[in-house]
C-alpha cells in the first residue's frame, strides 16, 4: 500500500530580485518592487511530500523524526532568518521562489534517503505558491 505524506514547515527570509545580466532599467521593469536594493522579506511555508509503501511494522512511510530532523538541519537552519542573496547558491542565481523551490528539492534529493521525494511546494505569500517535482509533471 503506497501512501503520500506531506509535512509543512515555516521560515522567514529576505531577498532582492536582481539579475546581473540585466541593465538597471531592465531589472526595475522585470522585478518591480522586488528589485529594491535593500531587499524585503517573506514568511515562507514549505510543504515536503514523500511517498512509499507503508511499513506495516511501524505503520509509517518514514519516521517523521528523520524528516523533521533533516529539514531542520539542512533547510531551516540555512534559510530561516537569512538574507537569501548572501548565500552561496544565490551568488549567481536570482533568489526567486522558483529557484528556491528547486534548491530545496535538490537538498532533499541529495541527502534524504528514508522515502521517495515526490515534490516540494513553497508558498511565498498566502497568494502565491510554487511546486517542483524534480522537473517531472505533478502526478496527482
Amino acid at each position: 500500500m503506497k501512501a503520500h505524506l506531506t509535512r509543512r514547515y515555516r521560515f522567514s527570509a529576505s531577498h532582492r530580485l536582481h539579475s546581473a545580466e540585466m541593465s538597471e532599467e531592465e531589472n526595475r521593469a522585470t522585478y518591480g518592487k522586488c528589485n529594491n536594493p535593500h531587499g524585503h522579506g517573506h514568511n515562507y511555508a514549505l510543504e515536503v511530500t514523500v511517498s512509499g509503501p507503508v511499513d506495516q511494522t511501524t505503520g509509517m512511510i518514514c519516521n517523521l523524526v528523520d524528516l523533521d530532523g533533516f529539514i531542520e538541519r539542512e533547510v531551516l537552519s540555512r534559510y530561516h532568518l537569512a538574507n537569501l542573496n548572501t548565500l552561496q547558491e544565490f551568488a549567481q542565481l536570482v533568489p526567486t521562489t522558483e529557484n528556491l523551490s528547486v534548491e530545496i528539492f535538490e537538498i532533499l534529493q541529495r541527502g534524504f534517503s528514508h522515502a521517495h521525494l515526490d515534490k516540494v511546494r513553497l508558498e511565498e505569500t498566502m497568494m502565491n505558491s510554487f511546486e517542483y517535482a524534480g522537473g517531472n509533471e505533478l502526478q496527482h
Binding site: 503506497k2 501512501a3 503520500h4 505524506l5 507503508v54 511494522t57 505503520g59
Partner: protein
C-alpha cells in the same frame, strides 16, 4: 471527468505500539507517541470522488449520499474514540495517519454509488497530512 471533494472533521485519540517490538524499540521508534494512555488530534478528512457529470442532475455524485456514507462509515466509528481500542482495523494495525488514510479508503470504497473514489486525505494536524489513492 469532474472531481469533487467533501471535508469532515473528527477528534480521536491513539498511540503507537508494536507488540513485536521490545519496550525499548517501541520507545525509540515511536517516542512520545508510544505513551499507552494515548493522546489526541483533531483530524480533518477530505474525500475526493470523480465521475462524469450526470446530464439530468448536473451532479457527479449526490453530495447528501456522500456525506451520509462518510458519517456512517467513518465519523460514527472514529469520532471521539480511542482508535487502538475501539476501531477494529487498529486492533492489529498501528493507527498512524498513513494507516488511517488506508482504513478510510477501505471503508468508503465499496459504499459509494456512481462516483469512484479518487483520493483520501487525512490531516492529523494542519502541518501533516497523508494522501492515499488506493495504490
Amino acid at each position: 471527468m469532474v472531481y469533487l471533494t467533501r471535508k469532515a472533521e473528527f477528534s480521536a485519540s491513539h498511540y503507537y505500539h508494536n507488540p513485536d517490538f521490545t519496550p525499548e524499540e517501541n520507545q525509540r521508534i515511536f517516542g512520545k507517541c508510544n505513551n499507552p494512555h494515548g493522546h489526541g488530534h483533531n483530524y480533518t478528512l477530505e474525500v475526493t470522488v470523480k465521475g462524469e457529470v450526470d446530464p439530468r442532475s448536473g451532479f457527479v455524485v449526490d453530495l447528501k449520499q456522500l456525506k451520509e456514507v462518510m458519517h456512517h462509515e467513518v465519523l460514527d466509528a472514529m469520532d471521539h474514540r480511542f482508535l487502538n481500542k475501539e476501531v477494529p482495523e487498529f486492533f492489529t494495525r498501528i493507527p498512524t495517519t498513513e494507516n488511517l488514510a488506508i482504513a478510510v479508503w477501505q471503508r468508503l470504497e465499496t459504499k459509494l454509488q456512481k462516483a469512484r473514489l479518487h483520493r483520501v486525505r487525512v490531516y492529523e494536524t494542519p502541518d501533516l497530512f497523508v494522501d492515499f489513492y488506493g495504490e
